[in-house]
Amino acid sequence: MIDRLRRVLRVARWEVARAGGGVDRRTLLAALALLLVAGGVLGGGLAAGAVGLDVDRDVYRVAVDGDSPYADAVEEAPALTPVPVEGAELGDTADLVVFDGGGSRTGAVETVAVRASDTRKGEAAAAEFREAVEAHNERLMAAEENATAAFPITVTLQYVGRTSGLDDGSTLGEDDGGSGGDSESGDGSGGGDGSTDGGGSDGDSEGGDADGSGDPVTADDTAGDGLAVPSVGGAAFGADTVGSPGSISPPFPFVSLLLAFVFLVPMNFLIQAYGSSILDERTNRRGEPLLVTPLSPVDIVAGKTLPYVAAALLVTTLIAAAVGGGPLSVIAVLPVALTFLAATFVGAMFARSFKELTFVTVGVSVLLTTYAFVPAIFTNVTPVALVSPLTLVVFDLQGEAVSVGEALFSTGPMALGAALLFGLGLGVYREEDMFTQKPVARKLLDALAVRLSPVEDAGFGDFVDRRRIRALGSVALLTAFAIPFVFVAELLAVATLFALPVTVSIPVLLVTIAFIEEVAKSVHLYAGFERGVFARADRVAVAVGLASAVGFFLAEKATAVVQAVGLTDLYVGRAAFGSVAGVEGLSPVAVAALLFAPLLLHGFATTVAAVGASRDRTYYVLTLALATLLHAAYNFGVVSIHG
């Protein structure tokens, strides 16, 4: 063991020495110079007032009389650009024409009318104009001397938890979450005492003037664990209007999210270097000397990966220290970093050239960043957010308590996924695969086939043959290992289809999920037949199909945690994971039927796909489609029974 560790460390040292030579001082200096130039230009621009992140600058043209008081409102709104009324034609040179009700010289405008071009752009321009006028009014009022008349209402906003909770027992580690909520909510008597979160709002409820109370609020806000909670007096209209209704901003953990994103940024650079290093081994047979040493592939890969894991840990710790995160942030980001590296490792093992690797790396970054980031947006909204470890980071930054169960649920699947991906890539870390050029799909089949054991076509009398049982066991195991990826793919499907109306999203989702599961159950069977591990016979196909189905069934039942985190509370979630939820209130017979119906379904559908896989690719595609339809029909039945 110690010997092995020493070997791994030796490879790691060698990798560090090599990588250190890769990005030399000159390159770093050049990068630094680029950043400095950018900083200088931006700073200069800011000073000159030419810089602003208004991507919507001047997108709507508003025809308004230069004398009209509305001209100022249009002038001050970045998205609107004023055009002269004379010669303005709706839909051609202007999107909106403003007619104020005369009296533009006296300053007292009675009414205003707008005519927008009859398009969606015209509507959008009208809405934008209304907002611009509102903002203009706020500014006008802020300049008033009589603050009571300008802002007659002062708002104190507080957030409290209901004593009879809405969120009964839907989360893992309920105890901690519950007590955290209680201590936080206070009793809501008065704005000052309670809610650590909503503390930003009590600024001037007692004060007569609206001025000057902006400061304590801002201070509160930054002190509040970097949480962008409902601060009254946001940046919109400046600190003068603190406490007026217009300055209420809805709760959204924006700052925490942004900070959580900062943790992901270095990963993208890290996997670029790591991917290059792995692919470097494979080009020009450079990795061959290492392979012929007594080092095992596991040692080599572990050693080559170690420095990057260490770098990720270091950077994460630095960022955590900088943004005020604790050890929890580091623990939460580690599995994400490992998954980034694992996916890149597989990509680099499969890619044929650096060009291909670039696309694989971009794909990995995009997919993993969305998978980690998007659920975290809903941190305070639903427990589903916990599927991403970044949610833990957001919790950590907000200073909320996280139970061990939650932490495990959040980080476990990702860590497991990383381990499995490394396993997949290691399968082809051998001479005959590393230095050959094959399309990615065929490499994937190779990597899967490596994990299978031969199944010969033998009579049913030999069914109890130990080798055969073991071979079928490996089929089931491989299917079971696919579960985390199925889970991830289904979550992504749920997330992307979430925005569609239910009538569209449910059928599409049912078919997508059936397809994902059928592929997970049969793709390695296809690999086995294609690579000659399995004999091409119907009996074999039935045997491996059933084995795969059993593996999937057992693993799926083990993931009943899905229910525990309340994913099935969502309608869409119920459609996706319906088969593991909602058994209460049924007779034992029905429960047993519900329990074993999926097994029958999986067995039948997978056997169909396996028989196709044992023929050739065309047959496989056809039977896979058939199996998907069968599965989707079954899912649809389940969903309609469950309602």
Partner: protein, 360 residues
């Protein structure tokens, strides 16, 4: 003499095209371009999902409203009710005192509590209690803000005599989805610029890979100049960009989002691709190896686009204005300027490389 020169030019041209063709054939064989398109599709789908999701949280009215039930109390509650009647999606039920309203809130009979009281000197205080961290909090707070703003407008109108300048009357509310602005100002620029980065990255990979494997030396034995090799590689990378952008624009059009000024947008993005490709060639020529080159390229592109987007009249804004059909003479001048800058940059880099060769 003239004839000989003509022949040389033709030979140069055909060798450039040969190299470009070889690059494209490599992309086709690896099917990487399909992966690139898939990635772009994924980004587009997901950013739309995000925005639709967030917009529906922030602007409940935008996606078929939500009704917020407010428990009101205090001595000015009737004014609050009056304001609620003018606001869609909010209703106020008066309770006799704050405690009763709070009880209703605790029993889930109300989404929020608002206690409004008049004070001396005419000021009104509103104490709002919203539920903590549930699904609906954002929606509720957005509706409450709308309600309280309407209330404020009413109260302000009553005190107009004390104001030196009265607020401007608001135009009528129109139904418009914020998604419209997002489509033109964020989604279209992102989709138009993604192929630009991909093309630059391709050039970095292509050149550094040749240097790395020593095949560039082989190419130099062939009767082509270094400048022609660079031209060929750049041509292939630039050629694939506008097609991808056009694909997205056509897709959006098919989805009912008309995009104006497509030729100008394509000209602008081709110019930017040329600029980024020039940057990529320069970096591959200067950086010692592939890793350094990709690193510098990523940083360089970040800097270039970060800076350009933040500037007034940046390319993102120019594309948005072209697409939404709000372009004016300045936008056209901008497109021409970008084309000019790109041409100068590429010519400069090409001359530099042809003169000094690649370092390796």
């Amino acid at each position: 003499m003239g004839e000989g020169e003509g022949g040389a030019t033709t030979a140069g041209k055909s060798s450039r095209l040969t190299i470009a063709g070889r690059e494209l054939a490599g992309l086709r064989a690896e099917k990487t371009i399909l992966l690139a398109v898939a990635i772009q599709l994924f980004i587009a789908a997901f950013s739309s999902f995000l925005v639709v999701g967030l917009v529906s949280m922030y602007d409940p009215g935008a996606l078929g409203g939500a009704e917020v039930e407010v428990a009101g109390a205090g001595d000015a509650v009737s004014d609050l009710e009056r304001a609620a009647s003018e606001v869609e999606g909010a209703s106020v039920t008066p309770y006799e005192d704050a405690a009763a309203a709070r009880l209703a809130f605790d029993r889930n009979a109300a989404d929020a509590v608002v206690v409004v009281n008049r004070h001396d000197e005419g000021r009104i205080s509103a104490t709002v209690t919203a539920p903590d961290a549930t699904v609906e909090t954002t929606v509720i707070v957005v509706q409450l803000r709308e309600l309280l703003r309407t209330y404020e407008l009413n109260e302000r109108a009553d005190r107009a005599a004390y104001l030196s300048e009265s607020p401007l009357p608001l135009p009528e509310r129109t139904g418009s989805s914020p998604y419209f602005t997002f489509t033109y100002t964020v989604l279209i620029p992102v989709l138009v610029f993604l192929p630009v980065f991909i093309s630059g990255s391709l050039v970095v990979d292509s050149i550094t890979e040749e240097i790395d494997e020593g095949t560039l030396e082989l190419l130099r034995v062939a009767p082509v100049t270094l400048g022609e090799i660079v031209d060929g590689k750049a041509l292939a990378a630039v050629a694939i960009a506008p097609g991808q952008a056009l694909l997205w624009l056509l897709l959006l059009r098919a989805n009912g989002t008309p995009v104006a000024n497509v030729p100008s947008i394509l000209a602008l993005m081709t110019a930017l691709t040329t600029l980024v490709v020039a940057l990529a060639v320069a970096i591959s020529a200067l950086a010692p190896d592939r890793r350094a080159a990709q690193f510098l390229y990523s940083v360089g592109v970040l800097v270039l686009f970060g800076g350009a987007t933040a500037m007034a009249g940046g390319p993102a804004n120019a594309v948005a204005r072209l697409a939404i059909d709000s372009a004016d003479a300045t936008t056209t001048a901008l497109v021409v300027a970008y084309v000019g800058i790109a041409a100068v940059a590429y010519a400069g880099v090409r001359a530099l490389v042809a003169e000094n060769g690649f370092e390796s």
